[in-house]
């Protein structure tokens, strides 16, 4: 047997005994991703901590301490944006959890036309948010809109969905749920089908009713899905911008402004420091709400 050709390229002198060979999993594989992520995401995030403390024209910045934040919490319309953001996130994630679970239960039962129903519920997830927003703005038109015309047929005098300041935010949130509930549903379906059948059989032998089945088997065992749905839609709700922008631009007045739309408006108006402060506020808001929420939802199941 002849010597292997590749061995000839190897060094004859042999390496010093202590030298390390290169890892087959080199760390530089991280590099392209790390550079892009570091430069375009991390660096601006850190920079925002400084620029939120300045009056800023993009060309020069003047350090003004916490003035932007003070303004943020003093201006009523900015505070309202903050409150709206939380309301919006709570409504959308709450409804998505409930409706998602309900739809998932329906769509995993032996109902007819399951495939059709799953598709119909899921498709809006893939459609352009702005397109959906514009469509529903039209459908929610107070006098000509299809929704109120439909209600009129039933003898109900429909409200000004997007024109009534008390209702605008909730209307947008409902459209958000319409568009996003399909995602919650498929996540729940994945969670439900992963529950081993044994549990239901054991429960049936124990004489559990349907309701007990749901309460003591389905609900606790689909908790990972619930956690995912809540966290995803809660973060999404807190960050939401495009739907609100497409439907109300934060109006009427500031009735449906959220922090994200405030950030955009301040940016447009050239208040870069204030806009960035808005970013930091949103960042803190998410951290303060989502981190404990995540820990709560993913806590070790003890007594259940």
């Amino acid at each position: 047997m002849t010597a292997l050709t590749v061995t000839e390229s190897a060094t004859r002198k042999g390496h010093p005994a202590g030298a390390r060979r290169r890892s087959p999993y080199p760390a530089w594989f991280f590099l392209p991703a790390a550079i892009i992520y570091g430069v375009l995401f991390l660096a601006p995030t850190f920079a925002s901590l400084y620029f939120s403390l300045t009056r800023w024209t993009l060309f020069n910045s003047v350090f003004i301490g916490l003035e932007n934040f003070v303004q943020f919490f003093r201006e009523p319309f900015l505070v309202q944006g903050l409150v709206n953001t939380v309301i919006y996130a709570v409504i959308t994630s709450g409804l998505k959890v409930m409706l998602g679970m309900l739809l998932a239960l329906l769509l995993t039962s032996n109902i007819i036309a399951r495939g059709y129903l799953r598709s119909v519920v899921f498709f809006p997830v893939l459609v352009s948010t702005v397109g959906v927003g514009i469509t529903f703005t039209v459908l929610m038109h107070p006098t000509q809109g299809m929704i109120n015309e439909g209600l009129a047929l039933l003898g109900i005098d429909g409200p000004g969905w997007l024109t009534d300041p008390r209702l605008a935010l909730i209307s947008v949130a409902l459209v958000d749920v319409w568009k996003g509930v399909g995602l919650a549903t498929v996540i729940y379906i994945a969670g439900l089908v992963a529950i081993p059948k044994d549990y239901y059989e054991a429960a049936r032998i124990d004489g559990a009713t349907r309701w007990q089945n749901f309460w003591y088997v389905t609900l606790p065992l689909s908790r990972p899905a619930t956690a995912t749905v809540i966290i995803l839609s809660f973060i999404g709700g807190l960050r939401t911008f495009d739907l609100i922008w497409a439907m109300t631009r934060g109006g009427p007045g500031f009735a449906s402004d959220t922090v994200a739309s405030v950030i955009y408006k301040q940016y447009q108006a050239g208040f870069y420091g204030l806009s960035t402060a808005g970013n930091v506020v949103l960042f803190v808001l998410i951290a303060v709400l989502v981190v404990p929420l995540t820990m709560f939802l993913n806590r070790k199941q003890g007594h259940e």
Binding site: V39, L58, A113, L126, V127, I134, F136, V138, T228
Partner: protein, 275 residues
């Protein structure tokens, strides 16, 4: 257990779902067929005359064929950023799954942070201006890559962990260098999850409105979602054209939906079961 239950329930579900989920789409389609006057009524009625073709021509040619430019821009944006995402995220997922190091917790933290933290918009614009990336399509490509990396990495890492390490080792003994191991052995095996990645990220990036709005201003640069936004003010009263435009930009996701429904659902529900 009666047989009638599922059928009655099913019919009720079909009717309700059609009312809630299909009527809005039907409305888009009907309005796209109408002429300007009829569309302005915003009614859910049958078109009096079929004007889809004229509407299409008008939408496409308006503002110096802006929609065509926008479709080209969106296609370039989507294809380039998804390509980079696939390669770079798979590389990170590969090392993350294979090499235990004390950096891993930091990397994982950054991934979670990326999923959670809203991007700091103005500082990003400032930085991109400094780098000459602001208002450039390739700048937006890099932005989409940066913002969507965490999700792709998570998908890849979970999948790579299921590929036996002996495969890498066999390749190493066969003389493969790290790049060979990755590109000739691992990456081909990631195909199923790559398809998922491609479809999920394509839909997201194609539909993205916020980032082009911030980082790619100007009509010349418009992506399809922005044409909608620009058109909305221009055609404030020409709803037929607005909805023709909406119809047009809904077609790509519809195609993806028809062909890759399973992969999308798989990608979007990944992690739901194990939490």
């Amino acid at each position: 257990m009666s047989k009638a239950g599922p059928i009655v329930g099913g019919i009720a579900a079909i009717v309700i779902s059609a009312l809630v989920f299909l009527v809005p789409f039907a409305f888009i389609i009907l309005t796209a067929f109408k002429d300007r006057a009829q569309a302005a009524a915003l009614d859910f009625t049958w078109p009096a005359s079929f004007n889809l073709w004229t509407n299409l021509v008008e939408v496409v040619t308006t503002r110096n064929w802006m929609l065509v430019t926008a479709f080209i821009n969106s296609t370039i944006l989507t294809v380039s950023s998804v390509t980079l995402l696939v390669v770079f995220a798979a590389m990170v997922g590969f090392i993350l799954a294979r090499r235990k190091s004390r950096w891993n917790p930091l990397v994982e933290f950054l991934i979670l942070a990326g999923l959670m933290i809203p991007p700091a918009v103005v500082p990003t614009i400032w930085l991109m201006q400094g780098l000459g990336l602001f208002g450039k399509l390739h700048g937006l490509v890099l932005i989409e890559v940066a913002y969507n990396l965490p999700f792709s990495i998570i998908l890849y890492r979970a999948f790579i962990a299921t590929i036996p390490r002996e495969l890498d080792e066999a390749a190493i003994i066969d003389g493969a260098r790290p790049l060979d191991v990755f590109f000739r052995v691992i990456l081909p095996l990631l195909w199923p999850v790559t398809v998922t990645n491609i479809v999920v990220q394509s839909v997201g990036i194609f539909n993205d409105f916020t980032n082009p709005l911030y980082y790619l201003p100007g009509n010349q640069n418009a992506t399809v979602q922005l044409t909608l936004y620009n058109f909305q003010s221009q055609f404030n009263t020409s709803y037929n054209l607005l909805f023709t435009n909406i119809l047009l930009i809904t077609i790509p996701p519809l195609i993806v939906f028809l062909f890759f429904n399973r992969q999308i659902v798989a990608g979007m529900t990944a992690g739901a079961v194990k939490g």
